[in-house]
Symmetry: C2
Subunit: 224 residues, 2 copies
């Protein structure tokens, strides 16, 4: 897929030196993809924004697919690092609510505040050519498996209802979080408030606690 050594870039930690040209190209591409999606951004756009010409990009990357593949990969890498680091900083006996709140906050923080790469990933994943998307699935898979392991850790502490299907929960949860890209705006609710509310919703549900609203009659009346 890649002819250059682009695979090693973008894994830097925090305060970093002046980026080389390839790094600048990726940063610019990620920002533009986040802002405007995949299809409407041309190599000419990316080049112009970096102060170069389109042909020059080919010295650093083999193709547009190569660039977007890198942006996708780095996006997952960044959110994954953020969530794992935050969870690892918790005490080993952290309860389910603290775990969920921390992981949700870290995911949203990476998505909404930290970097263009993560939000670009969420935004353009469904837009890139099929073979790029398929090549990227393995990278996503690792992150999704991590979330399932997180939920299992909560369950192992005996704090989750064993009736819940944790696989299904994860499938529902991540798109729900990623949807925040469409509606979160600075100023109204803080990210920490949103994270807390969502963690409580996930753990405690929408219903009143106590012994009402437990069971309901079988669903017979609604047509298929």
């Amino acid at each position: 897929m890649t002819t250059k050594n682009a695979r090693t870039r973008g894994a830097r930690a925090d305060g970093m030196p002046a980026p080389d040209a390839a790094q600048l190209i990726l940063d610019t591409a990620a920002r533009l993809f986040r802002e405007q999606g995949y299809a409407s951004i041309s190599l000419r756009d990316i080049a112009a924004e970096t102060g170069m010409k389109a042909a020059s990009l080919y010295h650093h990357f083999a193709s547009k697919d190569d660039i977007v593949g890198e942006v996708l990969r780095i996006g997952v890498e960044r959110v994954s690092e953020e969530v794992r680091r935050s969870v690892m900083a918790l005490p080993p006996d952290a309860d389910a609510l603290l775990l969920l709140r921390t992981a949700i906050h870290a995911h949203l923080h990476a998505l909404l505040k930290l970097q263009d790469y993560t939000s670009a990933n969420v935004r353009i994943f469904g837009q890139v050519p099929a073979h790029v998307r398929e090549a990227h699935l393995g990278v996503r898979d690792g992150y999704e498996k991590y979330w399932t392991s997180l939920l299992k850790r909560c369950a192992a502490a005996g704090q989750l209802d064993p009736a819940r299907n944790l696989h299904l929960v994860r499938l529902f949860l991540l798109p729900g979080l990623n949807g925040s890209l469409e509606w979160f705006r600075e100023g109204r609710m803080s990210l920490r408030t949103v994270s807390s509310e969502l963690a409580e919703l996930l753990l405690n549900g929408l219903g009143v606690r106590g012994d009402r609203a437990r069971e309901a009659p079988a669903l017979k009346r609604t047509a298929g």
Copy 2:
């Protein structure tokens, strides 16, 4: 936006007569958009699939934007009708779990089984040109408001925790449901099982019921 009378099409009920050319074009476009996304489908593709040539489409629609705008509109219309009809068929005293399960099932049913339009909407909404997306926002808005009203109906019956932010719940819920487009496959779990599980998750939460896991200490240790 539209120069033809396309706005009146696509609102048909159930068993319908042979579709006219414009209807066939829309049906074909919706199916192709659902299968392959927006950017990779050209007017030539749509025309070829209907047995026509690209130029002929312009007799029925003013532009590609016109076609895709119609597909988006019909998609929301269909899912909205499905959910409203299902909920209206419930007894007036239906409890929160039955309401949520019914609405979730109807939404997923429209998305995954019923029509190409709804899934095309979810799939390509983020891919269409900005002005098409913005023109469509008003249509989506009506459906989203309906969901908020549904949640309020549950709350009015005293079955929801008043601490929950219903607006936030809706923002989280709908993308969570729409994500099923990426993972739901026939055969494993039935749609009804998925709907039930998600409704119970939403109402009762992930945690054990009973008086454990209620409160947790404030979040102080995790870095921002």
